[in-house]
């Protein structure tokens, strides 16, 4: 046997064999790196960093840093340096996490020779006081040199960390492109366990085993600057359309959530009930799942993804998509293998259409289910090791997952249809509050623009934008007042009409008294009449309000609304000593679909304007309303013999805040402020134009001074049929 010197370590076979083994067993450079990563896995590492340093061309350096158990000198010698070590055969499971060893042929470490001309190993165990540094120069290993004669330099250096091994391969034999680095990633991605998926289960203390996870990050370091090339997050998961995650807790309550930045989804803890009758799962406890959801060929559903990246993910989906199952940290096959459809997603969803194109097949998902079942109470593997026995717990598991994914699909579908409509999806209120930079007010923006050096045209444009802006703001605040006043009136009239029957009851009773003399009866008649007038007002408004709240639009028979309106103002006309004439020409004067209450607004406003004009003129009032049909449009004209509108105002009357009323003082009561807001005609115009109509001032007929004419589209035959008119 070879002699051991404390500062050197020797291979014990022909050195040329190393070269051959290295090259033959590890044909491809990518495989070589993946074998080294697998070694780290076998050493129970949780994190592996694979750094390619200035390695675009040959001659660069590769570092593989893991936080595994590390090696003692003995282990280094026996395990690493001894070829075809039987260690894997004797110990199929790793020592700490009982991982099923992945390093395939036990010679993966010789891959290092395949990769570079020089190898430095720095390794330390939990117990060791120092780290061991082994330097190997493969150039020394040539054929016919006794391998034992080659001594490799061993140094003891201070520990870099608690435990773990670092491989530094220098003078790389070939150059590494990003694509080739990503290929390694794919070779080893099978080893990844869903630890990084488990934040929530960790915080719930559900999945302690997640410590056993395994994570690899590939980086390119060029001139000291690190570029992350491939990590599970970078390669895939962070690019998703949505992340669907959920768990069943120790009590059997199941929840899921969907997160998507693009779709503004941030749901969590939406409960999944076992059934209508029972919310908790009986047999299923302590499971957690997370899946990254992708829709291919739909780049617009992603926040930031290139066509190529999406294509790559699609390619990847052919071999590694699906929902995998991990039991106590161990992958259970065949769940999540290609073509395995244990959740029946493919069967159910592949041919389903009409859900807003939200496909949900295994191909669309990269995900994991973790089961924490230390004692094997819930699940047992089948004797043939071909999966889990399909017991009640298993049934509940598939049921929970199917329901959760179905619900998640619904959430995503809803948001995507919004996205398609081009609507801004609403951001949840408590979302990203801190991230959003404080928005500048428009006023502040104006100030900033003012400071800028702009040409005259731009200044002029900004000035007019500003004016328009302040006008709109003012109008808006007035509309708000009017709206709230409208609501108050609505409430008020609703309350008032509650008393009407009662008051009438008393009136009815008084009439029945046998002691009524003529005088009393006359008083009663007056009371009855006055109250009838009062009632007609309140019921008109109440009807208007209730029609408005029903928000129903339908074709409006204009003669009918005018008739009703006139009935209501009859007493007012008498008091004002105003004569009203009504004519209608043509038949079936149905306008396009409108709110009847809008007609109340229109007619009341126009009538009030006429009344004021008549009052100003001092004339004996005359109003004439004419309705008819002209060129497939329904029109309404309202004439009055008031003081008329001066030519210069004709274009202005429809502007907001144009008013001929005397402005109310700032401290006058609000009702005074409201009469003559100058918004009446503006509101009418808005209503009418909303329905594709127009309002204009036309030349009045003889004997009148002002005429407003409204034209609206006539109801289509189909519209009338639809509303059974």
């Amino acid at each position: 046997m070879e002699e051991k010197s404390p500062n050197s370590i020797a291979f014990s076979v022909d050195a040329g064999l190393i070269d051959r083994l290295g090259k033959e067993l590890v044909g491809r450079a990518e495989t070589a790196v993946s074998e080294l990563v697998k070694n780290a896995y076998d050493a129970d590492a949780k994190n592996v960093e694979v750094n390619f340093m200035d390695s675009l061309w040959s001659g660069g350096t590769l570092e593989i840093i893991d936080d595994g158990l590390g090696m003692t000198l003995e282990q280094l010698r026996l395990g690493f340096m001894t070829i075809s070590s039987t260690d894997k055969v004797h110990n199929p499971l790793s020592s700490r996490y009982k991982r099923s060893r992945a390093g395939k042929k036990g010679i993966g470490r010789f891959a290092t020779q395949r990769l570079g001309k020089k190898l430095i190993i720095i390794t330390q165990t939990l117990e060791s006081e120092q780290a061991i540094k082994l330097t190997i120069d493969w150039n020394n290993y040539t054929v016919d040199q006794d391998i034992s004669a080659i001594n490799n330099q061993i140094d003891y250096i201070p520990k870099e960390k608690l435990e773990g091994t670092t491989l530094i391969i220098k003078d790389l034999r070939e150059g590494w492109t990003e694509a080739s680095i990503k290929r390694i990633y794919r070779y080893v991605s099978d080893l990844f366990q869903p630890d990084y998926l488990s934040e929530s289960s960790q915080s719930l203390n559900l999945a302690k085993q997640n410590d056993e996870s395994f994570k690899v990050k590939f980086s390119n370091i060029i001139d000291g600057v690190t570029y992350e090339i491939a990590s599970p997050e970078k390669m895939l998961f962070n690019k998703n359309v949505a992340v669907i995650e959920g768990f069943v807790d120790a009590l059997g309550d199941g929840f899921f959530g969907v997160k998507s930045e693009k779709l503004n989804l941030d749901d969590y803890a939406i409960q999944i009930h076992k059934s209508d009758n029972s919310s908790r799962f009986d047999k299923l406890k302590n499971i957690h799942f997370k899946a990254y959801y992708f829709i291919y060929n739909r780049q617009e559903y992603y926040l930031n993804i290139s066509q190529l990246e999406l294509k790559n993910i699609y390619k990847l989906s052919q071999e590694s998509s699906g929902i995998r199952l991990y039991r106590n940290g161990f992958r259970v096959l065949p769940y999540g293998e290609p073509k395995n459809d244990w959740l029946y997603f493919d069967k159910r969803y592949t041919f389903q259409s009409g859900q807003g194109n939200i496909p949900l097949s295994n191909r669309n998902l990269f995900g994991f289910v973790e089961i924490i079942d230390k004692e094997g109470e819930m699940f047992q593997e089948t004797a043939s090791r071909e999966g889990l026995i399909e017991n009640d717990a298993f049934y509940e598991l598939t049921d929970f997952l199917q329901k959760a994914f179905e619900a998640a699909k619904g959430r995503i579908s809803e948001k995507i249809s919004l996205l398609k409509k081009g609507e801004q999806t609403p951001v949840d209120v408590d979302d990203n509050l801190e991230d959003i930079p404080e928005k500048k007010t428009i006023e502040e923006e104006f100030e900033e623009v003012d400071k800028e050096d702009l040409n005259e045209t731009a200044k002029e444009a900004i000035k007019s934008i500003k004016e328009k802006y302040y006008e709109v703001i003012e109008e808006l605040s007035m509309l708000r007042i009017l709206a709230s006043l409208g609501l108050t009136i609505g409430e008020f009239t609703h309350e008032i009409i509650q008393f009407t029957p009662s008051i009438n009851g008393y009136i009815a009773k008084l009439y029945e008294s046998s002691e009524n003399d003529l005088k009393t009866i006359e008083l009663l008649d007056n009371l009855k009449m006055t109250f009838a007038n009062f009632t007609s007002y309140t019921s008109y408004f109440n009807a208007t309000v209730s029609e408005n709240t029903s928000r129903e639009i339908k074709p409006v028979l204009i003669t009918d609304v005018v008739e009703r309106f006139i009935k209501n103002i009859k007493d007012d006309l008498e008091r004002q000593n105003t004569e009203l004439l009504l004519d209608s020409y043509g038949y079936n004067l149905y306008t396009t679909l409108m709110h009847i209450s809008e007609w109340s607004s229109i007619l009341y406003n126009l009538y009030t304007n006429s009344k004021k004009a008549i009052k100003r003129s001092g004339n004996s009032g005359k109003i004439r309303i004419i309705t008819g049909e002209d060129n497939n449009r329904i029109y309404l004209e309202i004439h009055d013999n008031g003081d008329g509108i001066p030519e210069e105002n004709k274009n202005r009357v429809f502007n907001a805040f144009f008013t001929t009323s005397t402005p109310a003082g700032f401290d006058s009561p609000s009702d005074e402020k409201l009469t003559g807001t100058g918004l009446g005609l503006k509101i009418i115009k808005d209503i009418i134009e909303d329905y594709g109509g127009i309002i204009k001032i036309i030349i009045p007929e003889n004997g009148y001074n002002t005429c407003f004419r409204i034209e609206l589209p006539k109801a289509q035959k189909e519209e009338l049929e639809q509303y059974d008119l």
Binding site: P501, N504, G505, K509, E512, S539, Y585, D724
Partner: protein
């Protein structure tokens, strides 16, 4: 004898007091008021209590859920649910049958009332009816009439389903179909009988039904007399007393037997001219002569109408017309053969003014409207 009703409404008693005052009449009708109990079981207890047995009628508000009762309990059931429970308990023989009236704002009827519940109620009164003091007395009469009618119906049921006793009239000459329907219906529970009679003979959705029985207005129309212009109208009615309806619910619904009027015209007045085909002015002339009542004025014909043999009234405008001058309104396919159809006059069809009373023309009449529109183009000069 005073008839006693219980009125259940979630409104305060103060608010309802006027309604009750207007409807009540000493010695005739008294109404007790109460809020809903706020609890279904308590509600059942109330219905089944001895105290409740003294009531001969029930007035229910539909939406009982708006305001809490005196004990600050809000109810979570509708008046229609209470009515249903009452009818069920009656059917089970635990209560006597009494009339139930629904009194509710139209808005709520539209919002909450499932029309399949209509048959639970003898009368559905929109609260807006009471927006006119004149309508209190007629409603009072109806309430009284309902409770008298229930007594009468159950008496006739016990008297071998005696229809003569129920109608106080010899039904021999009436429509066969009516008689056979009536013979079948009288075997059903009292409220079903009541419903059938009210809805098919007297009032459907508060619009009078014509056919076997007619209202005063239709009577005047068929006699060609203008009520408002004729000082002797009341005297004509005096002559017809024998044919005034005295049967079940006649206290609340003033009607005349149409067969009786025809009989009177032919047999008592011995007039050879057909009542149906003779013009108003001719009929009035004949009546003036036979009855020796000079104060009778014939109804005038509307400008667009052709016939003066008025027979019905336009449902929109109330104008008297011959059916040849009317257009049938929609929705009358399921009428019984003894029921007269409803029409609108040409004027109303062309320029509707009473659209709240009718919705649309029968599809079979639409072509007539088109012809009318061409005949009267109504173009703006």
């Amino acid at each position: 004898m005073t008839c006693k009703y219980l009125y259940i409404d979630d409104n305060s008693e103060l608010n309802a007091k006027g309604i009750i005052t207007g409807l009540q009449k000493e010695g005739v009708l008294s109404i007790d008021f109460d809020n809903p109990k706020g609890d279904w079981e308590k509600e059942r207890e109330r219905i089944l209590s001895d105290e409740f047995k003294s009531y001969e009628g029930l007035i229910l508000d539909l939406n009982l859920e708006e305001m809490p009762n005196k004990d600050k309990e809000t109810s979570h059931y509708k008046g229609s649910s209470l009515a249903q429970e009452y009818r069920n308990l009656s059917k089970a023989g635990r209560l006597k049958e009494i009339p139930i009236v629904l009194l509710s704002a139209t808005v709520n009827l539209e919002k909450y009332f499932d029309r399949t519940n209509e048959d639970l109620f003898d009368l559905i009164v929109p609260r807006e009816w009471l927006n006119d003091p004149i309508l209190f007395a007629p409603l009072r009469q109806k309430l009284i009439s309902l409770s008298i009618g229930y007594e009468l119906i159950s008496k006739c049921k016990n008297d071998d389903n005696n229809l003569i006793e129920l109608y106080k009239y010899n039904l021999e000459l009436e429509n066969n179909r009516f008689i056979s329907e009536m013979r079948a219906v009288i075997g059903y529970p009292t409220h079903t009988v009541s419903n059938f009679i009210i809805k098919n003979l007297l009032d459907k959705s508060n619009i009078p039904v014509s056919g076997i029985l007619i209202t005063e207005e239709i009577l005047a129309t068929r006699l060609g007399i203008d009520i408002f212009k004729s000082s002797d109208w009341k005297n004509v009615l005096e002559n017809l007393k024998k044919y005034q309806y005295r049967g079940v619910f006649s206290e609340g619904w003033e009607r005349w037997w149409m067969s009786g009027i025809e009989h009177w015209w032919r047999t008592e007045l011995e007039l050879k001219n057909s009542l149906r085909a003779t013009t108003a002015s001719q009929k009035v002339d004949l009546l003036k002569e036979k009855l020796e009542l000079p104060g009778l004025v014939p109804i005038e014909k509307n400008e667009k109408a052709k016939s003066e043999a008025f027979w019905t009234k336009c449902v929109g405008s109330g104008v008297s017309i011959d059916t040849v001058d009317g257009l049938l309104v929609d929705g009358q396919d399921n009428y019984y053969p003894w029921q007269d159809k409803k029409y609108v006059c040409y004027e109303e069809a062309l320029k509707p003014k009473g659209k709240d009373k009718w919705k649309k023309l029968s599809p079979s009449e639409e072509y007539k409207l088109e012809i009318l529109q061409k005949q009267y183009p109504n173009v703006r000069p």
